[in-house]
């Protein structure tokens, strides 16, 4: 079944088509949710919420762009909603208003496995983790990220700069000692 036919069937709420779509994207989207949360259970909760939104709103997908990217945006928004809603997350989601920090232009070689990098991102302070996910991984602009997190664009820039520097430092440290990496899966 091609993607357009699959979408059409999903709009009709055909369970088999919905499950096919879920099977195609669930594992990738779980990684997205996992990067924004603290544990796999919360990530699965977000994934569940996200897919319900996907299927309820799939009629609004107008075929402009890739379906995977559209689903990913829903997962990111669902993740942000989740962490804003739950106190164990929103207490940590603090963005200090600080002066503009010069964004580091360091571009170190990244020779780590995906899971290791994901774990390093998740080890960042929660604010850093969130802003780096939005800008560094998802590719949102500072303006978009600022709007999503209800912060100023300046704060977004400074937070991202610090998050990036912190992550690079971690990667460089860990790259020199690969034995420090655990198998997190």
């Amino acid at each position: 079944m091609n993607i357009q036919a699959l979408i059409t069937e999903c709009i009709k709420n055909k369970r088999s088509a919905q499950q096919q779509l879920y099977n195609a994207y669930a594992d990738t989207m779980l990684t997205v949710c996992y990067r924004y949360t603290r544990n796999i259970h919360d990530a699965e909760d977000v994934l569940q919420i996200g897919f319900v939104k996907v299927f309820k709103n799939i009629a609004q997908f107008n075929n402009q762009g890739e379906l995977g990217a559209w689903i990913r945006r829903i997962m990111v928004n669902s993740s942000l909603d989740y962490i804003k809603k739950h106190s164990r997350y929103n207490k940590e989601l603090v963005f200090e208003e600080i002066n503009l920090h010069q964004v580091s232009t360091d571009n170190p070689d990244v020779k780590l496995l995906a899971q290791d990098i994901i774990e390093l991102i998740r080890e960042l302070p929660f604010g850093y983790q969130t802003i780096f996910n939005l800008i560094g991984v998802e590719g949102y602009s500072h303006a978009e990220a600022a709007q999503m997190l209800n912060i100023s664009e300046q704060t977004s820039r400074s937070q991202y700069s610090r998050a990036r520097a912190s992550l690079i430092k971690q990667i460089q440290q860990r790259s020199s000692k690969p034995e420090n990496f655990k198998n997190y899966v």
Partner: protein, 491 residues
């Protein structure tokens, strides 16, 4: 951001995959809107239920008119029936000892006296003296060795005419109940059942009512709760019951994240005599309370009279609408609160019967006439009730979930002006391995109803979940089949 660092990060983790829990889809599925096709299914079910209900109403209406005519004919017999008795109290409908004594005493009186007493008001039963007096004039063709030789229908008509002429049967005897011929000369050896043939169940009047049977149920968890139920019981030939509503049957197997409303609507209909509808109750608590043998006079025949009472539902119609709300509290508890309204209508045959049996020749022919005074009665019952229930779920997301259920349902019968309270307790255990083609579940429980007459029920159910899989091994759909064994004991 278009720095190389960000690009590398995106390349490495952009399409990284983690493995989602296998049962995650099962948690998502109940939260999704229903397929539009399902709505069509509901419409079809509703249409079928309406058709069934409409047919039964028409039949019900027709029977009601017949009943009124019948009441005119046998108005005098209504005195023999305690009209204030509770229609559901089956033993109340059976003859009381004082009635039987009365009948026996009457049978010892000369018929002429009774007839005089009831002049203009035909007595329901003829007396023994009258029977004896009228014997002896029937001519039955016999073979050289005194065996019946003519065809059975002719002979039956002849016997019947003779019986009427000689007042062996009363005016209400208008049908031949059962006739059998067991000729010994080789010419006749058959059993003939006339149009109104019935199987008479002899049951002691003080016996309790027990029902036991097997219920086959086809539940489709992924749709809106349409079920098709067939019931086979030892005193029920066939029953068909339909349910449709917006509830989802898979609620019995998993917790949904949000509480929700559930609506059940059901309609059932029954018929005893004709195959118009699909439920047959043949309770017929009938027994023989008196008999006498007519002397074999002139070698013609022997006669036996039998008296009894009939309480037999002919048609019944039930409609039910229930609304309930489920609340999820924590991980392990589900609460149900709801209300229901139901309507039950019965058309019943009630009254006394008299069977007149003739035996002619040497075991040659045995003919039974059904007479008596049977009244068709119509009853309506409207109930309103509340429903309170709780499910305790052990290991709900595991492979072997275990459910404990308890429920309480007080129902007020507007017609009977009394409250019935029923409570249930049951448990459900099942295997939830989606990799299996079939999974099994078992359910067992008891229910107890308090009212004028209490009832204790025990039931067990065996479910089978069949999974349909696609070529890539993902589960497409699943369906539940169940086999239910029920036993209800009325105290």
């Amino acid at each position: 951001m278009s720095n190389q660092f960000e690009k590398d990060i995106q390349d490495i983790i952009g399409n990284h995959k983690m493995h989602a829990s296998p049962d995650l889809w099962q948690q998502i599925e109940p939260q999704l809107p229903e397929e539009k096709k399902r709505r069509k299914a509901i419409i079809w079910w509703a249409f079928a239920a309406s058709l069934l209900t409409g047919s039964c109403l028409i039949y019900h209406y027709q029977n009601n008119h017949k009943a009124e005519r019948s009441e005119d004919l046998v108005a005098h017999t209504t005195k023999a029936i305690n009209e204030n008795e509770n229609i559901t109290g089956e033993t109340n409908l059976l003859p009381r000892k004082e009635d039987l004594t009365k009948n026996n005493n009457r049978s010892n009186q000369p018929f002429t006296e009774v007839e005089q007493k009831n002049k203009g008001n035909t007595a329901p039963f003829k007396t023994r003296q009258n029977k004896t007096a009228s014997t002896g004039n029937i001519t039955i063709p016999t073979s050289p060795n005194n065996q019946i030789q003519l065809t059975a229908p002719t002979h039956q008509t002849e016997l019947f005419t003779h019986a009427k002429t000689n007042s062996l049967v009363n005016d209400q005897t208008d049908k031949l109940l059962y006739a059998s011929n067991t000729g010994t000369d080789g010419n006749i050896s058959n059993n003939i059942k006339a149009n109104n043939t019935e199987t008479i169940l002899n049951r002691h009047p003080d016996s309790t009512t027990n029902t036991t049977g097997i219920l086959l149920e086809d539940m489709q968890p992924e749709n809106l709760g349409s079920t098709l139920t067939g019931i086979i019981q030892h005193d029920t030939l066939l029953a068909l019951h339909t349910d449709s509503g917006s509830s989802k049957k898979e609620d019995i197997q998993k917790i949904s994240k949000k509480g929700k409303w559930q609506v059940y609507a059901s309609a059932g209909a029954s018929n005893t005599n004709k195959l118009l509808s699909l439920i047959t109750h043949s309770a017929s608590p009938q027994y023989l309370d008196n008999s006498s043998t007519i002397p074999n006079n002139s070698g013609s025949y022997n006669g036996t009279y039998s008296y009894g009472r009939v309480n037999k539902p002919i048609t019944s119609l039930s409609l039910q609408l229930a609304v309930q709300r489920k609340f999820i509290i924590g991980r392990h508890f589900e609460w149900y609160v709801g209300t229901q309204m139901s309507y039950l209508s019965n058309l019943q045959e009630r009254g006394t019967t008299k069977d007149t049996s003739f035996t002619s020749g040497e075991k040659s022919v045995n003919t039974i006439y059904r007479g008596g005074n049977i009244v068709k009665e119509k009853n309506h019952n409207i109930n309103i009730g509340l429903l309170l229930g709780i499910n305790y779920l052990i290991n709900p997301k595991g492979k072997h979930p275990f459910y404990l259920n308890g429920g309480l349902m007080p129902v007020y019968s507007i017609s009977q002006k009394q409250i019935h309270v029923s409570n249930t307790a049951s448990f459900l255990f099942y295997n939830n391995n989606l990799n299996n083609r079939f999974n099994l579940a078992a359910d067992a429980g008891i229910n107890w109803q308090f009212s004028k007459k209490s009832a204790l029920g025990i039931q067990g159910q065996l479910f089978m979940l069949s999974n349909t899989k696609k070529s890539d091994n993902t589960v497409m759909s699943n369906k539940w089949k169940s086999l239910q064994i029920k036993y209800t004991y009325t105290l």
